[in-house]
Symmetry: C2
Subunit: 699 residues, 2 copies
């Protein structure tokens, strides 16, 4: 009898604590409930219709009772929050952070362990996380698995890449959830290494579209001291489950209470523009922790980089000799080394002449003769230049020309070695006045057994950002785990690659024409991407007539990417001589801004097209970028975002009539028109094409 | 027919290449032979009798053909080598390196991989290693196992500790090989953590004695970029097999040709003194690689350390609060913190007054509130002192008193974190004029999954030594893998613990009276040990009457250890007030030298007794130490090592008549006699006792 009474009491309490929270607009609604044997669960409705049906939540612990059942609700608390904040650099001068919050305080009966689940509901999406308050019964713990479910109800179309623990540089697949199958993946995509992919494990952000046209995006925010979350897809029932990236011995995360998980995010909208334009991931991160942000500045740069990709020069100085085992005097130069003092001066001259901020030089330091693919621990020391690269001379020349140098630190995955040298490397940068570093992580990670996306590496990438901040340096990481908004907290972490960049077009099957229409719905949600646009010499046959590779866009689309791919650090990636042949088109790259007062998503459909207009930070100029996939596209854009009553000179860089990404990619035309905010602009995009527009107020 | 001919040819070639090499004295003989299917093997004879019978050699590779069979001998080469070299600090001013060498160049038929096996035969032992020359068919490779065998023929008595991958701080077991059984080990020895021990895996050096009285010691030298070798014992057949310590994912070593394995050593003698006195391990290491050794100096030191072990004070400042998560201002002091500025000054005063070189301070830096046992990554930053420890004030005071400070870096096993902070930590040391650092590695290693004895950690310990050399700092590591002679190459790696030190006597079952008679046959072969002798207040009941723990020696034996335990860095580990009660005995510690022109092993029996005399570097003074195990001992020592014709004042610090390590450990007497090199000295050692003697020339 007593037992039955207890059960009834627990049931009553559970019902009492069934909790819900809505978005400020009321369109989204989250319901929390303890189900089965005290198991946390939630649902998400959009305009009253279920998008996420009952999905359980839980954490498995190593050597401890799992935190996935036997919970009671201790208390629940609703709250609302509406503020705005100013990013150091960003797509808008001021970002609104408006959400309703629901905190469910849980206690596990048997263990007395406390765990909170906190929901934040924005107009464009839901976020929730696990929180572990400081408590007697839980101090140190090891997460062996997170069992967060996202139970969908339909067979969505998904834009997905496989759940590789070591790289996010795959081309996107566009299939139904039911068709996801890593075994069927094309192996010939230029990915140098791969971990076991599982049958249907995919990476987040996972962008989806329902048969009825609802856009849903599942991602995460504020991945700090935690591994990256991939998603296991149940291809029959459309249920997604979190899959945390393990460490060398199979553990997922080492935590100490008080602590929190990253936010799990579900963006939902009938309008795809809400997702591309969302600042939700940034909003879910901690505010800026830096006192001094004066050194954090946007940079437009050129560099010794694409010439290696196209095969004109090499990173290494001495071919396949082992630089690490030889003293640099003993190396025999091949004559193909790109990072020479003389060549660097050429790029500095070009940067200075065209008003660029910086020059990147890759291959400046000893080690490239035997750098990748062998899991080698001590490759680079990050401080020893090749004999033909004179740091002092380069710095002096750059200073004279008012150009800043960007340092390059390729680690070849040997993070242990990089961390040992980091202070020395940053000291060198300060000595030679380099304000920014591009890091690289090609290859299997050392400490051996760790993955690029595990907790160890997430912590490493964030650590490098914090240490760079100690030196007032900006960081741009390549081959890192994809960002989840840490640049709000450490805005000196100015940029990252962490997706398939333009470089793949130089030496692999490349990036499909749809590629750049997907990235803003996925990778870019967590922060800017150093995509390295601006390739004018589209076909690699220009360099070697036997080469079939090419950039999968028109030249005009390369220009448009400077607007559609948000980044405060933008490369003009092609060679100076490529630009010198098209100075009229290059003018757009010279003009385009990097930091913005405002951003308008005008048109958006993942995998198909994207049109964005942005207003320059602190100025009245606007820039517009429009891109399409493999299909030609026409559209009429109302310029109502422009300032009322102001006349603008619009310079339109567009595909020529017969342009085509494959057959005739370099055909563009440039025209100038006068417009106001009442004007309409007719965009005509070639297959794989784009349009870039600059709007200069007429005084 | 052709096949048979081939077989005969191969057989003939094999026989032709059966190779042997003898020690300079001819007592030791090594025979190399390809056996079975081209498998390398060797035997070792001592005075014509087999000690190691046919034992095969081989290396297993990951994802590659094993290098353990199908070899042919390409060539063999004999050589002889006789030189002497001067250690920066050492047991002798000049060390003779005299051996005969045999190099067997092998090629594996199927793979065309080349591997050399090189033997060096000294008068006191055999060494051999695997060498991988630069070659086309072997560049990068991963060792999955080394299968080096040491096939003995008898059931030796062995002095062994279990093959723990994470600690070498076990008490010694003294059993026959046939009786080795880790399952029967006493669990209550004060070891805080342990890895899977296997059934009969033991650590090297493994000191043994045959039934007929032959001493055999199996160890290794020059463990550089390779894991530690433990030994699997076949308790039925007396066969030992190398067991390399794995990394997080089970691999043993990552190598790139050209490269070599460590030397595997087999010392053999009828006289135990040959083994204690051997410099063979140092000889097998590379010569000194430092240009500047001027800063490498012996140090006698006191420190804030033993008072924590006996419970008077604590390393932490604020009890069990989490220093890492609290700013140091928020910590609430317990009042028991040892490393205060005031207490440090007391030790500096004591050091200065008694002519000591240095003062160690442990617990000076923030983090000790939550430091060990939780596999926590970020515990210490190695640069932030507690609020009650003023670095500048301490440095100024020490300078005024002409005393050097010894820095302490406890890592709690988080090597990743230590390496990130190493430059900063060493910068701080230079800023505050600390010439030496004591490191600590208590707890499970981070990168997680790595072991203290794996390749990663071997590389770490050596890396810290090299980086310390960059700053002209001396290194003394605790809880490291045991040294194998790297201090010859980097003599700033002045000392290490890496065995069960005196500290265990303060809070555990302690160290048996035989302990210090074994260490010189094992641990000390690879380099000096920071054993921290000099405990005068023998019984812990002095500090707390409920305590049963005690040092397992007499006071006089503590003095003798300064001679029997070679170390150029010697602590007087007890509290100043303990010494102030026995200033007459303390005089020996004040007088004893740390660096030596010569060393004479006068008597030695592992597990029973040891008597050593040493001549001070550059002076005519001598010091003698004699120790015994739990048994009382008398012996007559001829002082013929003293300079002929010179009279000496000998001050003899010995056990009092009724002294006994257990019942009456602090009873000692001091007498002075005049002696010459014709004198004999009667030593009378109590159970667990010892005698220390200083010889001062009379002018």
């Amino acid at each position: 009898m007593k037992k039955i009474f207890s059960i009834i009491l627990v049931l009553a309490l559970s019902l009492l604590h069934a909790q819900s929270v809505k978005s400020p607009s009321n369109a989204l609604e989250v319901n929390f409930k303890l189900v089965n044997n005290g198991q946390p669960s939630y649902t998400v409705n959009y305009n009253g219709k279920p998008v996420i049906v009952e999905s359980t939540l839980g954490i498995k612990l190593k050597d401890k009772t799992a935190l996935d059942a036997n919970f009671e609700v201790q208390s629940s608390k609703a709250d609302t929050f509406n503020e705005s904040w100013k990013p150091v650099l960003g797509q808008k001068a001021s970002i609104v952070n408006h959400y309703n919050e629901l905190t469910i305080a849980l206690v596990q009966k048997a263990t007395n362990v406390k765990m909170n689940i906190v929901f934040k509901v924005y107009d464009e999406g839901v976020a929730f996380r696990y929180e572990f308050p400081k408590q007697e019964k839980l101090n140190y713990f090891i997460i062996s698995d997170e069992e967060t479910h996202f139970n969908l109800t339909e067979d969505y179309k998904a834009f997905w890449i496989p759940g590789d623990f070591d790289t996010n540089e795959y081309p996107y697949n566009e299939t139904k959830l039911s068709e996801i199958d890593n075994a069927k993946l094309d192996k010939n995509t230029g990915i140098g290494m791969t971990t076991d992919l599982g049958k249907s494990r995919v990476q987040a952000p996972l962008m989806m579209k329902s048969p009825s046209g609802l856009y849903v995006n599942i991602f995460e925010a504020a991945v700090v001291n935690y591994p990256v979350m991939h998603l296991d897809v149940d291809v029959t029932n459309y249920k997604l489950t979190s899959h945390l990236v393990p460490n060398a011995i199979g553990d997922k995360a080492y935590l100490q209470a008080a602590c929190v998980s990253p936010w799990r995010t579900i963006m939902i909208s009938k309008d795809a523009r809400d997702i591309v334009g969302s600042q939700m991931i940034l909003n879910l991160n901690e505010p800026c922790k830096l006192d001094d942000v004066s050194y954090i500045k946007p940079m437009k740069y050129v560099g010794i980089w694409w010439e290696m990709h196209v095969g004109i020069s090499t990173w290494d100085y001495a071919g396949s000799q082992n630089a690490q085992n030889l003293s640099s005097q003993d190396l025999i130069p091949t004559g193909k080394h790109g990072a020479t003092t003389a060549n660097t001066k050429k790029y500095i001259d070009f940067a200075a002449k065209n008003g660029f901020d910086g020059v990147l030089v890759e291959g400046w330091n000893v080690g490239w003769e035997d750098w990748a693919g062998n899991w080698k621990e001590e490759v680079f020391d990050f401080t020893t230049p090749y004999p033909d690269f004179n740091l002092a001379e380069v710095t002096a020349y750059a200073k004279e020309k008012n150009v800043k140098m960007i340092m390059h630190h390729e680690t070849s995955g040997s993070v242990a070695n990089y961390e040992r040298h980091l202070d020395r490397a940053f000291d060198l940068m300060k000595k030679y006045d380099y304000p920014a570093v591009k890091t690289g992580y090609v290859g299997k990670i050392i400490p051996r057994g760790e993955f690029h996306d595990g907790q160890t590496m997430v912590n490493h990438f964030n650590f490098v950002a914090r240490r760079a901040a100690d030196y007032k340096l900006m960081l741009n990481s390549h081959e890192s785990s994809r960002p989840t908004g840490y640049s709000r907290t450490y805005p000196n972490y100015i940029d990252a690659e962490a997706a398939r960049g333009n470089e793949f077009n130089a030496w692999s099957v490349g990036n499909a024409p749809s590629h750049e229409t997907i990235l803003p719905f996925t990778r870019l949600l967590g922060g800017p991407m150093d995509y390295t646009p601006g390739i004018f010499e589209i076909k690699m046959s220009y360099y070697d007539k036997n080469k079939k590779e090419q950039v999968h866009t028109t030249l005009a689309k390369q220009l448009a990417l400077y607007v559609t791919m948000y980044s405060p650090l933008q490369m003009a990636a092609d060679l100076p001589e490529s630009y010198e042949k098209h100075m009229d088109a290059f003018q757009f790259i010279k003009d385009v801004a990097l930091d913005w007062d405002d951003t308008k998503i005008l048109e958006a459909e993942p995998g198909d097209y994207l049109t964005i207009a942005r207003k320059t930070k602190g100025k009245e100029t606007w820039f517009l970028g429009a891109i399409t996939d493999e299909n030609a596209r026409k559209s009429e854009i109302a310029l109502d975002f422009l300032t009322k009553g102001q006349k603008y000179k619009a310079i339109i860089y567009e595909d020529a009539k017969d342009a085509d990404w494959k057959k005739n990619p370099m055909a563009y035309k440039i025209r100038t028109v006068e417009v106001t905010n009442k004007s309409k602009l007719n965009l005509v995009l070639a297959p794989g094409g784009g349009t870039a527009v600059s709007f200069e107020p007429i005084k």
